[in-house]
């Protein structure tokens, strides 16, 4: 198997116009090929009216490139980019709900929280809520550590990622606005 054919985790960053229905337009491109989306996040960007979709999928590069080309064809998509893990900085946030009793019994949980760079964001007589930001691996580590104390509820956000590239969103969009490629034109060469 070549690198191209090996399935691995990729992060997709899709810049779009902020329009209703776009989430559906995007996800049907994946579901049509029966590709599972590991995580998904939609957020606003520094440019008004522009949204950023961040998706994590496990796929072969070759397959994913075809998907990305189809995403770029969507009328309201401004740009779509695929990143390897080492091309981005990324984080996920996880919340854990643990019984307060477990916390009171000994100092173990407090120690776990401190050692894992997590923090307690709520505490009442029934339960405590712990928050941890990091990679999926890191939040999972804390999950495993808390598991013996009984986790009432666990939730993890989609990945948010920022690329290491020098591109500025605003400049990218300006370039699109000034592009002549909406008209039939031939670049001189």
């Amino acid at each position: 198997m070549t690198m191209e054919q090996e399935a691995k985790e990729y992060t997709l960053s899709v810049l779009t116009e902020d329009k209703p229905g776009l989430l559906n337009r995007l996800t049907i491109i994946f579901s049509r090929r029966k590709i599972n989306i590991n995580s998904l996040n939609v957020s606003s960007t520094e440019v008004a009216g522009v949204s950023r979709y961040t998706l994590v999928v496990t796929e072969t590069k070759e397959h994913l490139e075809k998907v990305v080309k189809q995403i770029r064809k969507l009328v309201d998509v401004l740009g779509a980019f695929v990143y390897d893990e080492d091309q981005i900085f990324y984080q996920e946030i996880a919340l854990y709900k643990v019984a307060a009793r477990a916390f009171e019994q000994n100092g173990m949980i407090e120690k776990l929280v401190r050692n894992n760079g997590a923090r307690i964001i709520a505490l009442d007589k029934h339960h405590i809520i712990i928050e941890k930001t990091g990679t999926k691996h890191e939040t999972h580590e804390l999950y495993l550590a808390l598991e013996p104390y009984g986790i009432w509820e666990f939730v993890r956000s989609g990945r948010v990622a920022i690329s290491k590239s020098q591109r500025k969103t605003e400049a990218f969009i300006k370039e699109l606005e000034n592009s002549r490629s909406n008209k039939l034109s031939i670049k001189d060469f």
Partner: protein, 572 residues
Amino acid sequence: MEAIVEIEEKKKTVAGSESVLKCLLEENVDTIFGYPGGAIMPVYDSLYKYENKLNHVLTRHEQGAVHAAQGYARSSGKVGVCFATSGPGATNLITGIADAQIDSTPLVCITGQVASHLLGSDAFQETDIIGISMPVTKWNFQVTSAEEIPYAISRAFYIAASGRPGPVLIDITKNAQQELMEFDYKPCEKIRSYQPYPDIDGNKIIEASKLINEAKKPLVLVGQGVTLSGAENEFKAFIQKAGLPVASTLLGLSALSTKHPLYVGFTGMHGNYGPNLKTNECDLLIAVGMRFDDRVTGDVKTYAKQAKVIHIELDPAEIDKNVKTNVAINADAKQALKLLTPLVDERSHEKWLKEFSACDDAENEKVKSEALFPNKGELKMAEVIHRISQVTEGKSIVVTDVGQHQMVASRYYEFDQKKSNITSGGLGTMGFCLPAATGAKLGAPKRQVIAIIGDGGFQMTVQELGTIMQYDIDVKILILNNSFLGMVRQWQELFFERRYSFTEMVNPDFVALAKSYNISAQKVTERKELNTAIDGWLSTEGPALLEVIVEKEENVFPMVPAGSSVSDVRLE
């Protein structure tokens, strides 16, 4: 302050429903195919006043309307327009929209929708047509207030017709049709998130010209992209200068005359022997405006592996999708060819061309002589097509349905004029032909339109005989009747040990059926009657139907069985 508000209100003089029609006139629409119903009634009511400006054709089913709009678009080169109501009206459009999407046909479909306060409530005839049509449209949009109508329709026409064309659906709620608005129309010229014409990379043009100038056994595949960009002349100049043999895809037929000395035939599953075989012997494959459909490539793992590949294609998503290219020119065919032709050397490839002739000889001996000139037995589809081709001198618009008759018509009709081939290629929609032919005639009224249909597909949209009758649309209809779903039967014979599972049909009296619609009709069963019948049928004034009873279990050859290599093209 109040006075200002009053003035503002006074400007609102046009109902949303009327503004829909005004927008269509701004986009130079002259013909609409449609079917009324509750949620689109305001638009139809406005249409009553516009009867002398817009020609509305009432089809007999919404599927008929959308296929007719497709036929109209393909014969005229304009955007096809259709109307339908909400719910079932809208869902009945879906097959045609999907067909237009896969075959790159520009359409604007306008559907009525329940009032916006009822959206999502399962109101009468409410369906989420935006959700349903999303995967099969190039773009769609729901209008919920009258003000949005010009914006939506101007975008719709721009998106449908530019770049790689495709269908667009605009869903308009009933309240938006009834509200008053101030009408102001500006055609859409740019959408920042939509870049339909990429800048051409000059280096790719130079690289391609080098490969062409070095090639010893080049083969060109012409697709519908050439027709869609109106590049027939540029294409001819290109292949003539470089002396390149040309094979055509199904939708590429008629982009180059079949009589051109460099035309070597139709390629793909039931294409000619030479183009299929030589694809795996050429040293350079030049694909122009086509997308390497699996019906063209057979098994891609064994497709043209020995050759370098140049792909001229407007849609970047098609590049490297099915076949990896050495040089990809992401451009409109006309622009790319204009740049490429000056850089190619004047050459000829006589020896290589002769190899195609040798393949033709083999195909003639094994297939064509028997198919075209049988002197005994039942009538064959090919001889019927051949006669029609001769009588019309290859100058008619040929609209076909899907199946054996489609492959036979594509093989034996000798297209000699551009924009003459209208068929359902990618989706393979049975029932496409009859309505598409009516639309094609209205889109090209000066040309003769021949609808070639099997007995199965004819019955899928047979109701459109009513449309032909009402508007006296001059379509010449040929039914090649073998009382079978012939192509499925052929596969059952070849790959399912002749288990003819539900492919035999008991058919009605097609002649009597046509006559009940006041359409002149005739049936032929004997070879000796054929030529006279065809001549009479084609020279009839107005619509006419000819039913020809053909051999029941005839197979179409050559054939590249599904999933096989094009090298394994079978002659028998």
